[in-house]
Amino acid sequence: MILHLDIDAFFASVEQLRNPALRGLPVIVGSGVIASCSYEARRFRLRAGMPLGKAKRLCPGVVILPGDSHIYEAFAQKVWDVCGRFTPDMETFLDDAYLELSGSERLRGTAEQIARNIKDAVGAGSGLSVTVGIATSRVIARMASAKGKPDGLTTVREGEERDFVRALPVKDLPGVGPATAGILRKVNVTTIGELAGLPPHALLDLLGRNGLALYERANGRDSMVIHRNEIPRSISRETTFRKDTIDPAEIEATLYYLVERAMKTARHLGLAARTVAVKIRYSDHEGDRASKTLPHHTDLDAEIFETARELLGRLHARRVSLHAVGMALSGLALSRTRERFLFDPLERTKLRRLYVALDDLRDRYGYAAVITGKSIELLRHLPRNSHDFVLRTPSLTK
């Protein structure tokens, strides 16, 4: 059986734990848009992704907090540490995780017993409440946990999958976004049961290969397995500017800083990246994104930044201020086992040693202990605390 665990109103719950005066109040965390909102805030129809201005109109008394990704990561780690006591087969994301229980049931009881024990242990260890869904597949487990929120436990037994999903709206099926839901609505498909009843070739015509995957899921079948977090699909960092800017020095400096942060994480995980993506958002909310795949993997900031800068130059074509910039590394592979670095020229080897030394210094004395390259420009634009620059919206993406 697979267990999907979702931390209830994660960021807002952490803020309510940190400061009990916030308990019972509508609390939202976010900058620009809502990243997380408490269940009290949800009663006012506030939802993640909603602009803060609209949130204030709907709920004038709402408490708005900027958030702190370091703290949320620390709390998430507490939860994953608890889960790791029950099974080693776990795939974690920012505020949810999939646990493979098949090997644990003989040792630790039924899936429901394990789920109850995990819920109790997470509550005792972190103070957070979690909702759990149990099923034979990832997709159904995730849908079961979504049904049980908050603080719930829902089990879908083998053979009950189709009945469980049949009456649910089609937008609840993972993989169905607003665009796909719109296409399906045009052919009068609004529930998962209706989707399951369509012939697969019709879905293939309508939605391409994704249509076949949705057909399988709608019929309660899903073969995705749990991947341990050894190699993430991507590492991304993004932020909004404190004030929308068109200053190329500030934009490049911010991009440089984001590249450094992402690459430090990659090296910490022993990974090298091959694909670099950059995205920008203008002050008029228009945005754009571009990516480039390098001829080989690299774990050197300078090589990634050169590519990122090239992409930024291509993207930032309008004479409009930027509101946000972000970058992502993908095509990640373990660098330690990559023999290609064995034959690197001396210059690259030296550069790699320099970055590792910088990582060590920053680990020891805080990130802002050493400010390099274009990041120096940020000293003019960003405040610093004892550890780092204080970004307006630090990336919350793993």
């Binding site: 940190r18 400061n19 009990p20 408490v63 620390a74 060590d360 020891r364 605390n385 004892s386």
Partner: protein
């Protein structure tokens, strides 16, 4: 609610029994504040030396403090007053 960032190094009386760190009292502005309750605790493992963070209630306010595992100094990060 007012949140004030402090970033001060402080002296703390703490219990380390059983490997669990529990701050009991700390000095701030020449006054000893007794910890009435620990609301939350978390660890930052991003740096080489672990840092242990605490959100505590003392004399009607919520304080956040942390112990730096590198040099074993305590820091008062912020105070929230209702």
């Amino acid at each position: 609610m007012i949140v004030e960032t402090l970033n001060e190094t402080i002296k703390v009386r703490a219990d380390f029994q059983g490997g669990v760190i529990t701050p009991l009292a700390f000095k701030h502005n020449d006054r000893t504040l007794h910890v009435e309750r620990i609301h939350a605790r978390w660890e930052d493992r991003e740096t080489r030396f672990k840092r242990w963070f605490f959100s505590v209630r003392a004399e009607g306010a919520v304080y956040e403090l942390h112990l730096d595992g590198g040099d074993m100094t305590w820091h008062l990060d912020r105070v929230c007053v209702e």
